[in-house]
């Protein structure tokens, strides 16, 4: 309540009126009885002006004191039907012009609207808070300056004492209350501010990035034209960094360009298939299946003819850059690979593990090579085989299991782990 000051109820030309409401009561904090009754409230872009009926004096609350606006839920007793707003306020500034109340322990006031208010009013008020028009277009009050110099404080204090001699507590500049509700509310307010600051900082960086993005994309397009490969911008971005590095060190040789081209080809998918450029859902999945197959074929060959579905999923999405696939679409596309006769197909092991493997890569070959590997070393655990073959443990285990299933290996399940041996039980004698 002590943030209120005496003010002129006449609007300044730069001030925009937000709402005008009658029959408004003002309560200090949780006080049961209103401090002011039956007044008219005018909300503007700069302040809340309150004029009691039959009075020519105005009271105003500068909007910069307003931390946030909260609508008070009706207590449910039906006792008081009037709508209420809770205005959370910040600390009074030193040198604040005098008001009707000199000191208050509450850091919020309640406004009660007997006639109710338009439902957009709280939002409009909050919007005005965010616009902070008082910063861009300050109004200098006709009667009182915005921030009076300290010399004037004494005089004002004197004035206040004349009006409310019993309330003569001079406001100590910079005094901070740490205890009680006020302290807690101040902490909350500080936290709000910190969050707000960090968010705006984060977006500031993003804004810079966005403003640069267009140039970067253009630049990367021109580079990809130069090396005659169509790539998606993200990959080109990486290329750009690479080129910048090279430029420092000297000219790019043809060999390097060729080498880099091959890296990029294994990474990027040019013009990824999307739902938008497919006529139907089934066509989308078919095209997707073809694209995945062609993108992963070489990579699968490189790692031994088999790739777990999650790994394939990651690789495809990395290559697609921004047009990310959902796991469901990926799975659907993989499931129809066999029916499309693609070189890469989906295989589901008995254990439920799903892999993409080359069609040429059949079980017989796996069993044969795995059995030979076991015979050579004497025995293998999945972990050891994974290391030798340079594949995931999961896949190595699947290899051992299908070899066992074919009767070419047998297991030794002990506390030391699961180890596979050549199937001497079947083959010896």
């Amino acid at each position: 309540m002590d943030r209120l000051e005496y003010d002129d109820p006449i609007l300044h030309p730069k001030e925009d009126e937000i709402a005008k409401l009658r029959n408004v009561k003002i309560y200090d904090g949780d006080a049961k009885s209103a401090t002011f009754e039956n007044g008219e409230l005018i909300a503007t872009s700069h302040r809340l002006v309150y004029v009691q009926s039959g009075s020519s004096h105005g009271l105003s609350l500068r909007l910069h004191y307003l931390v946030y606006v909260e609508e008070e839920k009706s207590s449910g007793f039906g006792f008081s039907r009037s709508k209420k707003l809770l205005l959370h306020l910040s600390e009074p500034l030193p040198g604040k012009p005098p008001g009707p109340v000199d000191r208050s322990s509450c850091s919020f006031i309640r406004l009660s609207f007997k006639d109710g208010y338009d439902s957009s009013f709280p939002n409009n008020l909050s919007a005005a808070l965010q616009k902070k028009k008082w910063e861009t277009a300050p109004i200098t009050s006709t009667s009182l300056p915005e921030a009076p110099p300290l010399v004037q404080v004494k005089i004002q204090t004197g004035q206040q004492n004349k009006i409310f001699p019993y309330l003569s507590f001079p406001q100590l500049p910079g005094r901070q209350l740490r205890a009680g509700i006020v302290g807690i509310e101040r902490q909350i307010q500080a936290k709000h501010k910190a969050t707000d600051d960090s968010i705006s900082l984060a977006f500031e960086d993003l804004n810079k990035l966005m403003s640069m993005a267009k140039d970067m994309v253009l630049l990367s397009k021109s580079i990809s034209d130069k090396i005659k490969v169509n790539l998606n911008p993200i990959i080109c971005w990486a290329l750009l960094n690479f080129l910048a590095l090279q430029e420092k060190q000297g000219e790019i040789s043809d060999d390097e360009t060729v080498q880099f081209k091959s890296y990029l080809l294994s990474l990027g998918i040019d013009d990824p298939v999307t739902r938008d450029n497919s006529r139907s859902e089934s066509q989308y999945h078919q095209n997707l299946a073809r694209q995945i197959s062609s993108a992963l074929q070489d990579q699968i060959k490189e790692i031994g003819g088999m790739m777990t579905l999650p790994e394939a999923y990651c690789r495809v999405n990395r290559a697609r850059g921004l047009e990310l696939l959902s796991p469901e679409d990926m799975l659907k596309a993989c499931q129809i690979m066999a029916s499309l006769g693609l070189p890469v197909t989906l295989k589901v092991f008995d254990s439920g593990v799903k892999v993409l493997h080359l069609s040429t890569h059949n079980d017989q070959n796996i069993i044969k090579t795995t059995a030979e590997a076991i015979e050579e070393s004497g025995s293998y655990t999945a972990e050891e085989l994974a290391q030798v073959l340079g594949m995931s443990v999961l896949l190595a285990k699947e290899r051992l299991l299908i070899t066992e299933k074919a009767g070419r290996a047998c297991r030794d399940d002990s506390i030391e782990g699961l180890r596979f041996y050549p199937n001497l039980l079947l083959e010896k004698n």
């Binding site: 066992e404 047998c410 030794d412 002990s414 180890r419 041996y421 001497l424 039980l425 079947l426």
Partner: protein, 172 residues
Amino acid sequence: MQWPWQYDFPPFFTLQPHAETRAKQLSAWRSIVLDYYKHTKESTLDVREAQSSPLFFNSTINRKLSQEGILLILENLQKTGNAEPLDKTKNRWLIFWKSPEEWGKLLYNWAQARGMTNSVCTLFELVSGDDTTDEEFYGLDTEIIIRAIRTLEVERKAEMMMYDDNQGVKFF
């Protein structure tokens, strides 16, 4: 006792999931069990204790067959009459490396050769007497001797006799 090569092969102590391999594994175990019992002249097996017997526990490679595996072998032996559970919980078993009929035949042949027909001898004489030291049934568990004599009873070649605390048999 000379163990076969499988005894030093770690996977031998894990039940193999592959059907054909498991069949081979079980038949190897069968012969090992029977050989072992023949060698030690033991006749009873307790599943709960078997895991600590050298038969199912190879300490050099630190592998033991699971109880489940032991039971599987015993049930397999039971099918061919080489084992018989002594209780309903299938914890204690009798192992026959020769079937009771075969033992009966051996006993009867011995009795005939010794001219013991129509005379009575105690079971103690049969398994620990001076006359039988060279016989295969020397030191055999009385449980098995009794079962062998029961088969002879069916053929009316012998009869169990019980007097005082002694058990005897009369060959015809």
